[in-house]
Symmetry: D2
C-alpha cells in the first residue's frame, strides 16, 4: 500500500504536516511513503505545466491512501491546498485513491469543515472517502491520543478501502 | 447482505421511492429487503418513542446497505426525511451501515445537494459513505440508464464496503 | 416593523424558543409580535393545506424580521424546522423578510451550521439574510451576554435591512 | 460608493473578470473603481507581506461594494481566489464591505456553489452579504441578460447595503 501525505500550510514543515504524517503512521504502522509539503512547490502552482507540480500530482494520484491536511483559514481549507488540488483532473484525478480529509484549527469552532468543505473537493476529484473527516485542535498536533479515537473508529474501514485499490492494481 | 431503501417524499409511493429501489436493485441484482416510505410513519415521527418509527429505525440500522432518497425541497433534502434521521442515535445510529445519498430534482441546479448536504447527516449518524452522492433529474426516475454511470463508477466500492459489514456481522 | 420568531424544537416551549425571543427582543427592544413554536402545528405539517400551518406561514411571510431558530440535531437544523420551511414557496416565500439563522447546541463543534446549512435554506426561500448566522451554546440560552456580541456586530445591519421592507410595504 | 471587482481566475483578463465587471456596472450604472485580477499578484500571494498584495487587500477592504468572482474548479471557487482571501484578516477584513459572490461554470451543475461555498468565506471575513449568490453559465459571461434577473431581484437590496457603509464612512 502506497501511502502519501499532502499538507497545505503556507509555513514549511508545519504542525499540519507533522499531524498528517502522524495520522498516516498511526493508521498504517509505517512512515508515509511520500510527503508533499505543498508550499515547497512554490510559484509553479500558479500556472499549469510545472514539472515539479506535475510530479507531485502523479505521486499523489498513484497512491492508495492519502491524508490531505490543511490548517483552517477563514473557516475552511487554505488557498494553498486548493491550488494544488486544482492541478488534478476532475472526476478521475484521485480515482483509486482512498482519501482522508484532515484539518487543524485553533479551537473547536471549525470542527465541521473537513466533512462539509474539504471532503467534497476530494470526492469531486474521484477519491473514495469512506470515513468521517478529522478535525484536530492544533496544539494537539503531535499527540497520538488526539488521533486514536478516529483511528479506532474508522481505521479498519479506511484500510480496507485502500487495500482494495492495492489489489486492483495487482490485477 | 441486507439492503434497505428509505424514501423521504411526503407523497406516498413516490418517484423518489421507485428511483431508490431501482438504484438498489441495479446495484445488488435483487429487490431491496426492506422499504421504508417515511410518510407512512405519520405523526409518530413528530415525537419520540413511537413503536412503528422505532421498528423502522431498527430495520434500517440493522441493514448492510441503505439508499437514503429524497426529492429536492428548498435546495436540500426534505424535512420529512430529516425527521426520520433525527430518530437515529448520533455517531452510531448507522454504524456498520454503508449508505448512499440519492436526491431527485426537477433540473440540474441542485446536483451538489447529495454530497454537500445529505451525506454529512449520514456520516454524523456513523454511516460509511464511500461513494459520491447521486443526483437524478426526476423525470428519469425509472430510467436505469440514469443510474448506470454511477453504478459503473461506484458500485464495486459500495458493495465491498457493505460486504465488509456482512462479514463483520458473521463473526 | 413586524417581528416574528420561529422555533423548530420538538419540545414545546423550549430553550430554543426562549433564545430566539431573547435575541429578537435584544435586537429590537420589544417582544416579538408573533411566536411560532413549530411543534404546536402538529401533524398538519406532514401534508399540505392544513389551515393552522397556512396561517403560520402567512404570519411569518408577512413579517419584516424573523429569527429562525433550531437546536442542533445530527449536526444541522431539525427535521421539524425543515418541515415548516418546506411549506413556504420557493424563491419568494420569504421575499421582503429579513431573516436571522440561530442555532443552539451542546458544545462549540457545530458553530458553522447556521451559516453553512440553515442560511442557504432561508436564502432559497427568498429571504434577505445580511448577517452571519448565530450559534449559541445551549446552556447560555437565556443569557443576554451570549447574544450581545452578535447584536453589537450585526444589529444595525439587520435592522436597516428589515426597516427597508417596512418602508417598501408603506408605499 | 467605491466599487471593486475581484477575479480569481488563473487566466489573466478572463471571462470571469469580464462577467464580474459587467455585473458591477449593470448594478451600479458605472464602471468599477478598482479591478483586482488576482493572478497578476503572482508569487507574492504564496507568502505574507508582499506590498502589491497588501495594496490590493487594502483597496478591496476600503470598498463599499465588491464582486468576488471565480470560475468553478473542482465544484468550488479556485485556489487562486482563496489564496487572496486568505490575506484578509478574519472577522473584520471585509467589515463595512457589501460583497457579492459570483461564480461561472460550464454547466448548471454547480449552481449551489456561490451560496454554499463562496459566501461563507466572505461572511467569515466580516462582509455583509445580503443577497443570494449568483452562478452564471460561462458562455453567457458577457450577456447582460444573464445578470439582469439577479439584478432585478437583489439589486436594490445590495445597493442599500452598500450605501449604508458609504454613509457610515461619512460620519
Amino acid at each position: 500500500m502506497i501511502v502519501s501525505v499532502v499538507a497545505g500550510n503556507p509555513k514549511p514543515a508545519s504542525r499540519t504536516l507533522t499531524a498528517a504524517s502522524l495520522l498516516a503512521s498511526t493508521l498504517t504502522g509505517k512512515e508515509p511513503d511520500h510527503v508533499v509539503d505543498v508550499v515547497d512547490l512554490g510559484a509553479g502552482l500558479l500556472g499549469w505545466g510545472d514539472s515539479a507540480v506535475a510530479a507531485a500530482v502523479e505521486t499523489v494520484a498513484g497512491s492508495d491512501l492519502v491524508v490531505f491536511a490543511s490548517p483552517t483559514f477563514k473557516a475552511t481549507y487554505t488557498g494553498l491546498l486548493k491550488l494544488f488540488l486544482d492541478q488534478f483532473s476532475t472526476s478521475d484525478g484521485l480515482q483509486d485513491v482512498t482519501a482522508i480529509p484532515l484539518m487543524l484549527g485553533a479551537g473547536p469552532a471549525h470542527y465541521m469543515a473537513p466533512d462539509l468543505l474539504l471532503k467534497p473537493v476530494l470526492v469531486e476529484l474521484g477519491a473514495t472517502v469512506p470515513a468521517a473527516g478529522l478535525y484536530v485542535v492544533d496544539k494537539l498536533y503531535d499527540d497520538t491520543e488526539a488521533f486514536q479515537p478516529w483511528v479506532d473508529r474508522w481505521g479498519s474501514i479506511v484500510l480496507a478501502s485502500a487495500n482494495a485499490t492495492v489489489s486492483a492494481g495487482d490485477r
